[in-house]
């Protein structure tokens, strides 16, 4: 039998530590991952589809490193992203021709326009850590729903954000096409 007079202070100290940590928010219980209600509209030239976030997640995934830089040189990343190839989504409503343009727009009113070459990961400018231009390695354009193994947070542009990915974490791409909060992808004839 363990003597009571030795365990009581230790137990008390432990309880106090636990209470203190909870009070100051250091041991907050992990927030459960919630499925966010979010619809993605895919508008082809003749067909339109609306996918839920769960339906987007159920499509064949792709993943890679994403690292972006703002127009004034602020770097964001690198992070590991998982999502769906933008080209695969566009194929669901009939695909895009060589002269077509792809309008990717977002809840906050932001719009960016891609061409068919960019859909294939071409014609993006890439930089090294010192923001010197480098020859672009193979790039892919995805609609990401996961960042570093976690659902993409709203503050990071989630639940769906356009991300340009590479195989290595040291390639930086221009941030302007990284549309946050994507809710519509539309193909328009060029």
């Amino acid at each position: 039998m363990i003597p009571v007079h030795r365990t009581a202070p230790a137990l008390l100290a432990l309880v106090l530590v636990g209470v203190a940590a909870l009070v100051c928010g250091c041991l907050a219980p992990e927030t459960a991952i919630e499925e966010v209600a979010w619809n993605l509209t895919l508008a082809g030239e003749e067909e339109e589809k609306v996918l839920t976030l769960a339906e987007v997640r159920a499509l064949s995934p792709d993943e890679g490193y994403g690292y972006s830089v703002s127009t004034v040189g602020i770097k964001y990343g690198p992070n590991r992203y998982r999502g769906v190839l933008l080209a695969d989504l566009i194929d669901m409503t009939g695909g895009a021709g060589e002269d077509d343009l792809i309008y990717v727009s977002a809840e906050d009113g932001y719009l960016w326009v891609f061409d068919a070459a960019q859909l294939r990961g071409e014609e993006f400018f890439t930089f090294d850590e010192n923001l010197k231009e480098i020859t672009a390695p193979p790039l892919r354009v995805i609609l990401a729903y996961e960042q570093d193994g976690e659902p993409l947070a709203y503050g990071d542009g989630g639940p769906l954000r356009l991300v340009v990915i590479t195989e290595t974490p040291d390639v930086i791409t221009e941030g302007s096409p990284w549309v946050k909060w994507v809710d519509r992808v539309e193909v328009k004839s060029g």
């Binding site: 007079h5 009581a8 202070p9 230790a10 008390l12 100290a13 106090l16 530590v17 203190a20 940590a21 100051c24 928010g25 250091c26 703002s70 127009t71 004034v72 040189g73 602020i74 343009l101 309008y103 906050d108 009113g109 932001y110 719009l111 960016w112 326009v113 891609f114 061409d115 014609e123 400018f125 930089f127 923001l131 010197k132 231009e133 221009e174 941030g175 302007s176 060029g190």
Partner: protein, 345 residues
């Protein structure tokens, strides 16, 4: 509980709390979020340091954006920003003199214009034609097929559409109608061709600003053009004078009739307009009309620290009254030189 046990418990608690970052050992500083246009970043580094020296209780956090994105942090994105400073004064009334919500006041009802800038042609010693370019012949040098020219993306950066305006105005100023095509327009497929009607020159851009040859290079922002200039990827870049000076480049001053830096020529500038290829933001239209480059600053109505924000704003206005290398120029006297504008003006 024995006395040593109690002491131990307190010690553990203190150590835990400290290691978890739950106690603040230094006095708390007020964090002031300042969102300026990219071309103000260099001067704001100095303003921030000097201001914090005088006000050690305030921690200024500068977060640079393009001017429109700077305003959108407050309006479309709903962030609580203390100070907004832009490179195009018209953006504040256009985008912020609107209600924050139903029945609420505007994001702001005033701004102070505090500096001005002008467009120049930046280059280095290694640029093709560097030994012969002058303020008189610059347009002929840039029009040469072997001379590579860069500007920032007009979709993203005011300096980008201003580059197009300067080139269009140059065609009028020098009476050389083919100049725009020779320097910029001919590098696109189909070519970008200014349309002239009722005294106004209008340039309509495609959705994707993708040059079809190597003569013209477009990048997201000024810093990438400067990097390209350093690396010899382009020979000349359209830049703000303060940016060229701040980065130690050579530059050609342009005539006041076309450099967008003279309020006396505001009527001439207004004769050129650029229509962007698409409406990037639902909250801002696609038309850009030529006007003098004037910087403006405001404190949003929902700024979390309005007192400190006004303190910083006054400090900045004072700092910008002096001519400094690499800074946008102080506002001089002349037409439209009033400092503060209100919604009722």
């Amino acid at each position: 509980m024995t006395r040593p046990a109690a002491f131990l418990a307190v010690l553990i608690l203190a150590a835990f709390a400290a290691s978890a970052g739950c106690t603040e050992t230094t006095p708390e500083r007020t964090v002031l979020t300042v969102v300026p246009a990219g071309s103000l970043l260099l001067p704001l580094e100095e303003v921030e340091a000097a201001f914090e020296d005088q006000h050690p209780d305030i921690d200024v956090r500068v977060e640079g954006h393009g001017s429109i994105q700077a305003v959108r942090q407050v309006t479309d994105l709903g962030r609580e920003i203390d100070v907004v400073a832009v490179a195009d004064a018209s953006l504040i009334p256009d985008m912020m003199y609107i209600p924050m919500g139903e029945g609420e006041g505007n994001y702001t009802d005033w701004y102070a214009s505090f500096a001005e800038n002008e467009m120049v042609i930046a280059y280095t010693d290694r640029s093709t034609g560097a030994d012969e370019i002058t303020a008189e012949n610059w347009h002929h040098i840039l029009a040469r097929p072997d001379v590579r020219v860069g500007f920032s993306n007009p979709m993203l950066d005011a300096c980008g559409y201003r580059a197009l305006m300067v080139t269009a105005l140059a065609g009028e100023h020098y009476s050389e109608p083919g100049l725009f095509g020779a320097i910029i327009g001919g590098s696109f497929d189909p070519p970008l061709t200014p349309a002239r009607a009722e005294g106004v020159t209008a340039i309509t851009l495609p959705e994707r600003m993708r040059p079809a040859d190597g003569k013209v290079a477009i990048r997201d922002g000024s810093i990438y053009l400067l990097s390209l200039l350093d690396a010899g990827g382009i020979d000349y870049a359209f830049e703000y004078r303060s940016v060229a000076e701040g980065h130690g480049l050579r530059w050609i001053d342009l005539p006041p009739e076309i450099n967008l830096g003279s309020r006396a020529h505001a009527d001439d500038y207004r004769k050129v307009q650029v229509t962007l290829g698409f409406q990037r933001f639902r909250s801002v239209g696609s038309e850009r009309i030529g006007q003098p480059i004037v910087y403006a600053i405001t404190v949003p109505e929902n700024a979390p620290h309005p007192d400190e924000a006004h303190l910083f704003l006054d400090f900045l206005l004072d700092a910008f009254q002096k001519e400094r290398a690499g800074w946008p120029a102080p506002m001089d006297a002349g037409p439209g030189a009033a400092m503060a504008y209100h919604a009722t003006d």
